[in-house]
């Protein structure tokens, strides 16, 4: 596996930080080196949230991503802010329910996933992040979906069996959109 440098970004409350944490926990579960670095402070309150997640077979030096292998954006401001970070040939995942605009990048692989709509169809728009995560895992070999599922109780402090089941459904739905 090559070193994966993933930026997740969106509104505060869209589960951006949890999405990144799930990747980090799952990576650690698989014996990889991982770092997770969030944006923090007042900008998160009602504003944008983002996190940088790195998974590697080698020890990780900088936890800050200047060239991302993957960028996941859940809203328009995040697309504009983070698409420049993507390396040429990198993967750009866009939440097409909320982002009607196109990316300006033509040298990357762009996939539009109606994550929020799928989550609403499942009855809970908070799981849009899990739909996105499912899609991401179907497109790449960052971590195994099972490792992510095993990490639910670590990343979600107050999860319940019902919520976990919904999260799994959301991930599977995301995966099915790709396959």
């Amino acid at each position: 596996m090559k070193t994966e440098k993933i930026i997740c970004a969106g509104f505060g409350g869209q589960g951006i930080l949890s999405m990144g944490q799930l990747l980090a926990y799952a990576g650690m579960d698989e014996g990889k080196h991982v770092t997770w670095l969030p944006s923090y402070g007042p900008e998160m309150r009602g504003g944008t949230a983002n996190c940088h997640v790195i998974l590697s077979q080698e020890p990780i030096d900088s936890p800050i991503i200047s060239q991302a292998t993957t960028v996941v954006v859940m809203n328009l401001p995040s697309l504009r802010k983070f698409e420049p970070y993507l390396e040429s040939g990198g993967l750009l995942l866009i939440n097409s329910t909320l982002v009607k605009e196109e990316s300006g990048r033509v040298d990357v692989r762009t996939l539009r996933v109606p994550a929020t709509q799928c989550a609403i169809d499942l009855g809970r728009d908070e799981v849009a992040n899990m739909v996105m995560l499912g899609a991401l895992l179907a497109l790449t070999d960052v971590v195994e979906p099972d490792s992510v599922i095993r990490s639910f109780d670590k990343a979600f402090e107050h999860t319940t069996p019902e919520l976990s089941e919904l999260d799994v459904q959301a991930m599977k739905l995301g995966e099915s959109l790709i396959k």
Binding site: V34, T35, L37, Y40, G41, P63, I64, S66
Partner: protein
């Protein structure tokens, strides 16, 4: 304990608790607040005491009281709060009472911002309190190193009866990384022959203070402190060296930004440019010994910091004028990319910048 993925601030708190810290006094300030919150929730579970003080001024003076009373005590804060603690730190240093302080620094001066910065180097190493005193200061670069140093700090604070400061920043405080936090054998502290425990009629009263109206006595007290600092400076210099063989340039950098420098060094290696690294882990004592390892191939030194060059003087002193000392830094929460640092190295090697 197996590796767990933890946020830096929480990992520091857990490491301290596992190292036997039972008294914590603090005040909320970003970006260290999770540490305070973790202590509030976890310390009482092990029979410890958490007090949210009315200010950092009060917090450090509570630490002074608890340390004088023989407690294994800690406080944590961030730059402006650390500034408020300077008076109390001077008293604690003068009284030779052990404690551990963590400064998760942020951008300054003034209120600045809450992003990662290293502009507390002066405040950390030179201090703002009155008098001739020193702190033993460690600046870790990874969360594993952070938790290991936090735990060792409690031992060293007791051993040398001095303040041990962990200097980190918002990047280390906020990021998550796997850590293995050891269970330190519950330190059965030896009877502290100096601690204020009340006489119980078994010994003469003890007094801990820093007032010496007689200059002869005050000078003697200073000499005792300095003898201790001398010992610490001989024994506790710590540093990491990387790729020093045939290095054309050696970068001196510490803490969070050293990780970015390492990425830059890898980039440069890919372009056939050999750059070495000296990473001070102890900021005081400053690791002068590391500079004896600089190879003849090196044309200069480059100090990289998240400040406007506060460490440069120490690097110059350690280099003893043998090599030119260059500086590259960003501040105010701006963080250089590995490419920016690599470009700076190339400029220096080309001679574009003196």
């Amino acid at each position: 304990m197996a590796k767990v993925l933890m946020k830096g601030n929480e990992a520091i708190a857990l490491a301290a608790i596992k190292a036997g810290c039972r008294y914590y006094f603090g005040y909320p300030i970003t970006p260290q607040t999770e540490l305070l919150e973790y202590m509030a929730s976890e310390l009482p579970k092990v029979g410890g005491v958490f007090v949210q003080a009315e200010s950092e001024v009060a917090a450090i003076n509570m630490v002074y009281g608890a340390a004088a009373a023989g407690g294994r005590v800690m406080t944590t804060t961030s730059s402006p709060g650390y500034a408020l603690m300077q008076e109390g730190i001077s008293y604690i240093a003068a009284a030779e009472t052990p404690c551990v302080i963590v400064n998760i620094s942020r951008g300054g001066p003034g209120l600045g911002n809450i992003q990662p910065a290293q502009s507390d180097y002066f405040q950390n190493t030179r201090g703002g309190g009155s008098g001739d005193y020193r702190l033993l200061i460690f600046a870790p670069a990874s969360l594993q190193e952070t938790v290991d140093l936090v735990q060792e700090s409690f031992t060293l604070a007791q051993k040398y009866r001095m303040v041990v400061l962990i200097s980190a920043d918002g990047m280390l405080g906020q990021m998550m990384e796997p850590v293995d936090i050891k269970e330190v054998d519950s330190p059965e502290d030896e009877e502290k022959q100096w601690a204020l425990t009340a006489t119980e009629g078994k010994r003469p009263p003890r007094a801990i203070y820093s007032l010496y109206l007689d200059p002869v006595e005050l000078e003697k007290a200073n000499e005792r402190l300095q003898a201790n600092y001398e010992k610490v400076s001989k024994l506790e210099e710590r540093y990491e060296l990387l790729q020093m063989d045939d290095a054309q340039l050696v970068i001196v950098t510490y803490g969070s930004v050293s990780r970015i420098v390492k990425s830059a060094i890898s980039l440069l290696a890919g372009e056939g440019i050999k750059v070495g690294l000296i990473r001070p882990i102890s900021l005081w004592p400053f690791p002068k010994k590391a500079f004896e390892q600089i190879p003849d191939s090196a044309k200069g030194l480059l100090t990289v910091e998240l400040s406007r060059g506060q460490m440069v003087d120490d690097v110059r002193i350690a280099a003893k004028g043998a090599l030119p000392v260059h500086f590259y830094g960003r501040c105010g929460g701006m963080i250089p990319s590995p490419r920016e640092i690599a470009d700076e190295v190339k400029r220096i090697l080309r001679g574009d910048k003196s």
